[in-house]
Amino acid sequence: MPAPGALRVEHLGKRFGNRVAFEDVSFEVGYGEVFGFLGPNGAGKTTTVRVLGTLIAPTSGSAVVAGFPLGTENDQAVRARISIMPESPGLYLRLSVAENLRCFARLYGVADPEERTGRALEAVRLTDRAKDPCGSLSKGLRQRVALARALLNEPVVLFLDEPTSGLDPVATREVHELVAGLRSQGVTIFLTTHRLEEAERLCDRVAILSTTLRMTGRPDELRDRLFSKALEVRTRVPLAEPGSTFAGVPGVGGWGQSAPNAYTLTVTDVEVAAPALARALVGAGADILAIAEARRSLEDVYLELIGEDVEAGRR
């Protein structure tokens, strides 16, 4: 478990007039952790990032970002220690890649902007495009330049706001590889996304937001909290008496039939139930094709938590 303290958020909220962007949001992110912030469009993810990045002021609650409490007096100190890669790269399109980065390196006051720019370009594998005008780059490459820009000040916390939004699968994969690389270097990353496979692949823990925070934890923890454990069984032919076959198996709470020869059993402990179930099936003369733990995806968790909100929004 990483040391706590890169981000500590307590009952944070932001309103724009009568409209609530998000409210009562509390969580903690440790140093070196990759924290996913999931939620549908309009859930308040970007506003949360902007509040934590000192771009806008919260209307309630408090937060400590990179060791500094949020507040006007600490705005510059926080901004010097964090980076935000916004959803839109926001590059100066008439300037070259290197000119864009040098400008930001100077704004961060780095000692040798030239050297730092070179290192950032190396990190995103764009050294050979340094002299190209940003306007000539593809969307994926612009996103990589934006990531390089976010690395210039060697941030304590790196906020990535929908880093793969609108990218094709190849560019998305490249960004994922870069983020995974940063993760292995111990960079603390706060990743907002509504791509669940992205969060599942990259994040140590995730929080699910829909104006309020619905749940926080490791993806597998969230699954365990929301869904009971299950085993999926497939046999060559349908069981003659499935009820009596499953009845005495230790750890099995109930069962259902998903196909003529497929059954789903809710269990309390997979490691106890699976071997006992195999023995029971063999005892009943069944030819077993498969016994596997039913895998609930983060998407299932997300839909369980957010689905009702989305439906309500549509209505």
Binding site: Q76, I82, S88, L91, L95
Partner: protein, 244 residues
Amino acid sequence: MSFSAGRVDAVFRKELQDYRRNRAVIATMALLPVVFVVLPMVQLFSIKASTASSTLDLRIGLSLLYMLLIPAVVPSTLAAYSVVGEREQGTLEPLLITPVRSDELLVGKALAVLVPTLAVAYSVFGVFLLAAALFAHPAVVSAVFRAPHLLVQVLFTPLLAGWSIWIGTAISARSSDVRVAQQLGVLASLPPLAVVALMSLDVITPTFGLALALGAGLLVVDGLGWRAVAAMFDRERLITGSRG
């Protein structure tokens, strides 16, 4: 963190690099001065040698006043674009994420407008003086090269440019649309135009005292301008469109 010349320099360099590669900016910077130098030239070469010295002085004075429209008008569109333009092209948020202070950002942007404006205005004035020296009547030449005329031109150019830049930047910081900002920026450059018009219509007589009063007023506006505009610079409003 204290005011950093390094961050001002970073903004200044970036703005100049961006202007240099923007044909529309180059064209505006080049064409407007040409328009504003034509009238004084016509005025200069239409003065007859027999013109009475008081009339000569007035006409030369008016020619030079026309040239002061260059520092008043040229920076207005650039300054009006400076903040809202960044917002529209999506580059403002990454900029505001850095430790740059509002006043550093605004001073960097103002300098990037001021420096080319001064270069253009003084160059045009140089061309005007050269043309006068080479082609105008000797009596006209001596009137043009009088110290007060030269001094007014040299001193008022940066003062007018400063006025125009701060007004334009203030409009830009509060606008939500580039076109509106630029239209208002041009409107904001009208007061000097009005002064020139009143002088040319003999409603106001250009006197040393008037020049001194105008100069002092502009100096105050320029001196306080960056602080006033920095106070109007609301990051939250610029990022979200809502008041912070």
